[in-house]
Amino acid sequence: MQPIISVSGLTKTYASGFEALKTINLEIRPGEIFALLGPNGAGKTTLINIICGIVNPSSGVIRADGCDIVKDYRAARAKIGLVPQELSTNAFETVFAAVSFSRGLFGRPANPAYVEKVLRDLSLWDKKDSMIMTLSGGMKRRVMIAKALSHEPKILFLDEPTAGVDVELRRDMWEMVRSLRATGVTIILTTHYIEEAEEMADRIGVINKGEIILVEDKAALMNKLGKKQLILHLLDRLDAIPDELAGYRLELSGNGSELVYTYDAKGEGTGIAPLMRRLSDLKIDFQDLQTSQSSLEEIFVSLVRASP
């Protein structure tokens, strides 16, 4: 399948001499929700701003739905909607006027019915004649989303859509992103909340210090995460795992004082109960037990730490 966005050999060095992106290669698939994770200053916004035409790339080629974002910028940008990280709106404009303005700016003929639909979907219809400055922060963010959707883009960038947003609005936002995806829109979002990536994304990319250090299907990542470990602190050391237990994924650690059982928390039946029965049959006693699970957060942190 042809990627909807392809970034190859992209670098960015700001005028200050700061190298914000070091050779980024990335492909986004049509119709997916892609979450870009990374610590502050990793280069997420820089990457998005370059794709959207706000920042000039230093080198590299980017295509959006087959259109080069520099040579064929008109076609490329018409396909893209952006909700930037910073809330910036025209205080003295009404909601309806602001969204209609965006639509015109992106080269679309006026279509009040479509603007109405967008505003209704975002629960902003009853505010359509309000000045933007009279809205709450969460509403302003939704106005920015409405502006980004005003020209019916195929690709939507959400740069930290849920920063500083309360739990309920965050859930609404997730819901909205899902229903957009259902209409065929490709969504790229950045976030600091791992749970958000877990909840929403089809694929996850991790960026650190201007480099993409991982891109993986969320399912594959979650599979790794789905593994749980049960650790039994044995009363008596074992020298080896008894043959009777060969059917279980067991390991000895702590000089034989701990028995570690790895199982799939998401699979059918964890196998813990039969294991326990076998252990008692074999008179292997333990004084304590604990379970552990590596979270996306841990993977993320260890990845970011490990990258130079």
Binding site: R74, R77, S88, F92, L105, F106
Partner: protein
Amino acid sequence: MNLHAIRAIYFFEMERTWRTLLQSIVSPVISTSLYFIVFGAAIGSRMTAIDGIAYGAFIVPGLIMLSLLTQSLSNASFGIFFPKFSGTIYEILSAPVSYVEIVVGYVGAAASKSILLGLIILATARLFVAFEIAHPLWMLAFLVLTAVAFSLFGFIIGIWADGFEKLQLVPMMIITPLTFLGGSFYSIDMLPPFWRTVTLANPVVYLVSGFRWSFYESSDVSVAISLGMTAAFLIACLTMVWWIFKTGYKLRA
């Protein structure tokens, strides 16, 4: 050509005028009326005619130019400075618009506003003093040319400025002195020879002179030179704007 975008920008900017009607139309009209009362009626009645034109009528073209220049500059510079300042410029930069379209939208709106204002002031002046316009078409041509050139100049200032001080600096420190010393209130023939030569380095002299010629067929410098200077200034501004967008100067990091 993204006509929808030009329309969107143009009407957004014009909308700002109606919203700030008092500031953008009413206040310049009031201040020009004051000039007419003071210079035209009160002082003008004791002044001798210049080149056979009553003093009150003589200052009309200059006063219109004064408003035209300052309003073009402040409208256009604020129009592009404010989105930069508030961050809403992201939308313009990410939109499928060429720089020509951006300039036509912003500069077109700023120029329209000041042309409209110039005509309103002209009508206001007619209430205070009697005058006739010898070449109405040339008068309009000078009005439009000057409004466009100085709106372009304002656009450049708006992009260059990174704070409100800088935004005010050029109009305050350069344009106002140049317009006052540009022959709005006197004929440069009234100056001693040395100062007359110095004055010829002031571009506003050519604007005012050409504009006044379209009213009264009398001018300080030849009309062809006036027109040439105005066109030259316009071209200089266009080149500057072209360079700004080509390099992304202060717009795209």
